[in-house]
């Protein structure tokens, strides 16, 4: 019998989105080897080079390091959040434009019962999986260095990466889906990712910046993630500021998700 109905209701919606699982499994099977190697080795190199070796030269009292008793403990959570950001920039720039432009994969997906929102959400699901697997590895690598004051803190830091990742993934997806050429990526790599990586409190306390720059750094998405991850790792949880960070990241994720779907729908309707 031919298809006359589609699964309906909230679970029907999910079950249609779930139809993209095999696509992403197949893609991952072709690419996981490279990503596993880098996601294990990169954190180790960073933690050793910056935390242990560079940190060996830094003798600053805990009060000046946001409550961290050594530079290693200060920088490691920052590196985790920064890694999440970089991974998401990688997953939502060239791959998105590639699926639009070079291989027309999205176009072939929406020629089926799938819709744009389901295609976007399935891909965000894949990115969430990538963030989770990279974060688990990073957290496990950091644990022997005594970076986490508690198991709960490590677990919390894991979930913060997921939220931080989505807060970056959705607006960048929206941006990439609207781009005509990949030159637009150079702009956001240079003007957003690298400055945020260097100046959003991953490597030094924000108070070291001039007052104006400090305020700018405090409104970046990465700072919200860095501060949350650091508070959880060090056990210096401060509920009011944590709630501000969490609300910021949730709003950015949801607004970005709406924009991403709209942006890709416009692109594919042309």
């Amino acid at each position: 019998m031919a298809v006359t109905t589609l699964p309906s209701g909230p679970f029907g919606w999910l079950s249609i989105t779930w139809r993209l699982l095999d696509y992403w499994i197949t893609v991952y099977r072709r690419t996981w080897r490279g990503s596993v190697f880098t996601s294990f080795l990169t954190p180790l190199l960073y933690v050793v080079a910056m935390g242990v070796l560079l940190g060996g030269f830094i003798k600053t009292p805990a009060a000046d390091l946001d409550g961290a008793s050594s530079y290693l403990l200060f920088v490691a959570p920052g590196l985790l959040a920064a890694q999440t950001m970089q991974l998401v920039f990688g997953e939502t720039t060239y791959p998105v434009l590639g699926l639009i432009k070079w291989h027309k994969v999205y176009a072939s997906m929406v020629a089926t019962p799938l819709t744009v929102s389901k295609v976007v959400i399935a891909q965000l699901g894949f990115i969430a999986f990538r963030i989770m697997s990279a974060s688990v590895v990073f957290i496990l690598v950091m644990t022997p260095f005594g970076v986490f004051s508690s198991v709960g803190g490590a677990l919390g830091a894991f979930f913060v990466q997921l939220l931080l990742g989505m807060a970056f993934a959705t607006p960048i997806f929206a941006y990439s889906a609207a781009l005509q050429s990949e030159e637009g990526f150079t702009v956001i790599f240079r003007l957003l990712m690298i400055p945020m990586f260097l100046f959003s409190g991953a490597f030094f306390p924000l108070r070291n910046l001039s007052p104006v720059l400090e305020q700018i750094a405090r409104i970046t998405p990465l700072w919200q993630g860095v501060d949350l991850t650091r508070m959880l790792a060090l056990g210096t949880w401060d509920t009011p500021s944590a709630l501000v960070h969490l609300a910021y990241l949730v709003v950015l994720s949801v607004a970005g998700g709406w924009l991403a779907i709209r942006s890709l729908a416009r692109r594919l309707a042309k």
């Binding site: 197949t26 291989h103 072939s108």
Partner: protein, 327 residues
């Protein structure tokens, strides 16, 4: 899963389908604009179950825009469109579940192997993994790609890629197969092999809607077609009807030296129903080409080369628009 799929050889019409109408595509005053550009300017089209229907026209005639509206991926700007009795605006996913789409540019995933492209795609239609594996093997056989199942897409020839794209479009056993310029860019041998596949599908009862700017393709494949030009329909009918209505039975083509055609046209104008002057030849539209040719010779004219042939859709298009199909 709420449904199962018959094999490709099963009759396409299923009992109990609510939209069991014979109108597969129904359009009235259909329009598509992009900003101030009118790609499709109010066309009326009806495609019936089991027929092969063509949109013939040059590049930029609005064929692809029309196809994308029928495929329920591009919103209708104005007018009425029903596909399988449903409105693409509200029932897009339901319509797309019963269509097979072969786009103009291959949209195969190069990260996936040949067979994987079919497996993954079948899942989008809700086929079980087991069903999709069986169907994929059947379609690889149909597309003569069984021994390429594990190959990379990038290693396939153009004709193989197109056959794989058509196989992918058939994964859900569609009631309508939409083909946008199916043989553009293929060599003659690959084109004939593809026509053979499409012909077999048509014999099995699949409704085929295709666009083309090749008149021979339209003549080979289409039961009925519309000639499109600048977003509008210039004529409609079977290939034979269109030729009868808009052209003569035969055409005598005369080639003279470069630059002489315009001047010589006046000397042969009375020998044919109509004379077309092209930069490289004169075309005399006549019922009996050989007789006309003898008369041309009788007037002492000595063309460098002559050709008498039957009228084609190319001649129909030239008559209707004053231009040729392929630039």
């Amino acid at each position: 899963m709420p449904y199962e799929y018959p094999s490709v050889t099963a009759a396409p019409q299923s009992p109990g389908v609510p939209a069991a109408t014979d109108s597969m595509v129904h359009a009235r005053g259909l329009r598509k604009t992009f900003g101030s550009f009118e790609a499709v300017r109010g066309i009326d089209v009806d495609v019936h179950r089991g027929e092969a229907f063509g949109f013939l026209g040059p590049n930029g005639a609005g064929k692809s825009s029309t196809m994308r509206m029928i495929a329920a991926v591009s919103p209708v700007t104005a007018g009425t469109l029903r596909v399988l009795g449903m409105d693409p605006q509200t029932d897009g996913p339901l319509i797309r579940a019963r269509l097979g789409v072969c786009p103009q540019e291959d949209s195969l995933d190069p990260d996936l192997r040949v067979r994987e492209n079919l497996l993954v795609y079948g899942r989008y239609f809700g086929l079980s993994r087991r069903a999709v594996r069986a169907r994929a093997d059947e379609l690889l056989e149909f597309a003569q790609l069984t021994d390429k199942a594990k190959a990379k897409v990038d290693d396939l020839s153009g004709g193989m890629k197109r056959r794989l794209t058509i196989a992918r479009a058939l994964i859900n056993d569609p009631e309508i197969l939409l083909l946008d310029e199916p043989t553009t860019g293929l060599d003659p041998q690959a084109r004939h092999s593809l026509w053979d596949k499409l012909f077999r599908l048509k014999e099995q009862g699949v409704t085929i809607v295709l666009t083309t700017h090749y008149m021979d393709e339209a003549e080979q494949l289409c039961d009925r077609l519309v000639v499109m030009d600048k977003g509008a329909i210039a004529a409609e009918g079977s290939p034979l009807e269109l030729i009868r209505e808009h052209s003569t039975r035969e055409v005598a083509e005369l080639r003279f030296g470069v630059g002489q055609h315009e001047a010589l046209a006046a000397r042969v104008a009375d020998l044919a129903d109509r004379v077309e002057v092209l930069p490289d030849r004169l075309m005399l539209y006549t019922e009996h080409g050989e007789e006309t040719l003898a008369q041309v010779h009788g007037r002492g004219l000595r063309p460098l080369a002559v050709l008498v042939r039957r009228s084609t859709l190319e001649d129909v298009f030239l008559k209707l628009t004053g231009r040729s199909l392929v630039d």
